[in-house]
Subunit: 300 residues, 2 copies
């Protein structure tokens, strides 16, 4: 079933302890859309400036992603993010952010996009996320991501959003900040009590946790020796997870758990190179093969 | 089959953000022995001062632990450790250490103990660990723990030990320090290349990783909302793991994986109260019940 994602598309400048890349394709919606495209038709809603290279759009389209919702603002510049990873490759510093076109991002979706049964509100301000949610009257499953900035600066808007969505995906540090609880098991359920039917806490190299009324579980990250650039891992996780749910067309507990596994494995490929470079090399069967390895790893 | 453990027995003073306890039973060998006692006959080798309360020894004996190797030094004091946990309950500061009787600990094992087929060298100086290993001519499986202090100060002795043991258990930060590699998958295999046939990296609240020539896997910690005091979690993990191996009497890949799971779950009970207080309340069937929950959690 079609899956629509609304979020950022960016130029990333990434420094790791051993290498760096400038002006590569980044952004939450790019990673999400590319990751989800292994599973289901994806509709991308975002904004770029006129500096955005046509080949980046073509790369997304090469995986069947519908980019008709990618607005190009004449005379304006694309969102830029610059970051640096510490030696542990799990923590990072943001060196520079230039919002540019993202500052006035006020997405208006086409009628077709509004009827998409699966909706992902990638990280963005909760008031924009709410506006999109109101447009998407056809969504049977709406899931959002958020970040520390909105937890600190827009708590009321975020609280309103949480009452309206089915699922929330956030980082461990954000879950602690949002709830004031340092224990992630309690924090996960406390976020759930704020509205969403399920909550996913992403722990970077340590995997992800799932919380619903009747279930609490942890899935470890796939142990890869080749962590080259963790940028986009969380968004790829979301893309793999939501893509699989949309493919299956349901969000039963069993499907959600399989979706958590696919999210984990999609992210495990993303970190093996810069930008989308590793995902560009794989097909769906590579994900399925790694899923079998992962299933074997977790059975005893 | 009998399992012998050589390590510390201590008075612990523990502060957590919400509570504290003074002079409770602690030490690597105490936690290890108690945890292992759910699975197999355990033989404890350690040393205490004349300030050691008889009821602490009796508590160990109540679980069938053979304490004939617990030396009491007249006129001397027991090893003391004082520590404080940070808000995240995963990081801690050591506030005070008084080695006391541990300073001159030079264990001499009885003939019966030397014939034990399973041996665990709990954290201690590698030269003492080597001396014990040389005595234990009956050991078919010898596993050791170590810590940052020995990695920094006794690298040659540690290297000699690593060439002689079958397995090493250590923390994530220690594995990084020992190998100079921040990627735990590479670090685990690098430690293995130093000698042991298998390596277990403990990641605290994030679980544990296993490395052998043919296998690499991660097992997440059991998600408990009740983390009261993490002291002894790593030693309980080791006790549950080694206890199960000794119970089965082999260390085949399948048994090792089940042992990793039992180690994980034994530790998950330990952290639910101070000292051995939570373990005191459980029986083997509580571990088995949690194992089934854990197995269900990891299957999809």
């Amino acid at each position: 079933m079609p899956l629509v994602v609304v979020g950022s598309v960016a130029f990333d400048c990434v420094k790791t302890p051993s290498e760096s890349r400038d002006d590569v394709m980044g952004g939450s919606a790019s990673y999400f859309a590319y990751a989800a495209s292994y599973f289901t038709p994806v509709r991308l809603v975002s904004v770029v400036g006129e500096d955005w290279p046509d080949e980046y759009t073509k790369l997304l389209e090469s995986r069947g992603i519908d980019t008709s919702g990618l607005e190009v603002v004449p005379g304006a510049k694309t969102f830029r993010w610059e970051g640096k990873y510490l030696d542990n490759m799990n923590d990072r510093e943001t060196l520079d952010v230039q919002l540019n076109v993202l500052e006035n991002f006020d997405p208006v979706l086409s009628d077709e996009f509004r009827r998409s049964p699966f909706l992902f509100l990638a990280n963005g301000s909760p008031d924009v996320q709410l506006k999109v949610l109101e447009q998407c009257t056809g969504a049977t499953l709406a899931v959002a991501d958020t970040m520390d900035l909105w937890i600190k600066n827009m708590p009321d808007e975020l609280a309103a959003l949480l009452k309206r969505i089915d699922g929330l995906v956030l980082n461990d540090s954000e879950a602690k900040m949002l709830t004031g609880d340092e224990n992630l098991v309690r924090a996960g359920h406390a976020v759930r009590a704020m509205g969403p039917r399920f909550v996913v806490i992403k722990k970077g190299e340590h995997g992800a946790m799932f919380f619903s009324q009747h279930e609490t579980y942890v899935m470890p990250a796939f142990p890869t020796p080749d962590v080259v650039d963790p940028t986009g891992a969380g968004d790829s996780f979301g893309g793999g997870m939501m893509g699989y749910l949309a493919e299956k067309g349901n969000f039963e507990p069993k499907t959600l758990k399989e979706a958590m596994a696919y999210g984990t494995l999609t992210a495990s490929f993303t970190v093996e190179d810069f930008s989308l470079d590793r995902l560009k090399q794989i097909e769906r069967e590579d994900l399925d093969r790694r899923l079998e390895e992962y299933r074997h790893m977790l059975s005893f």
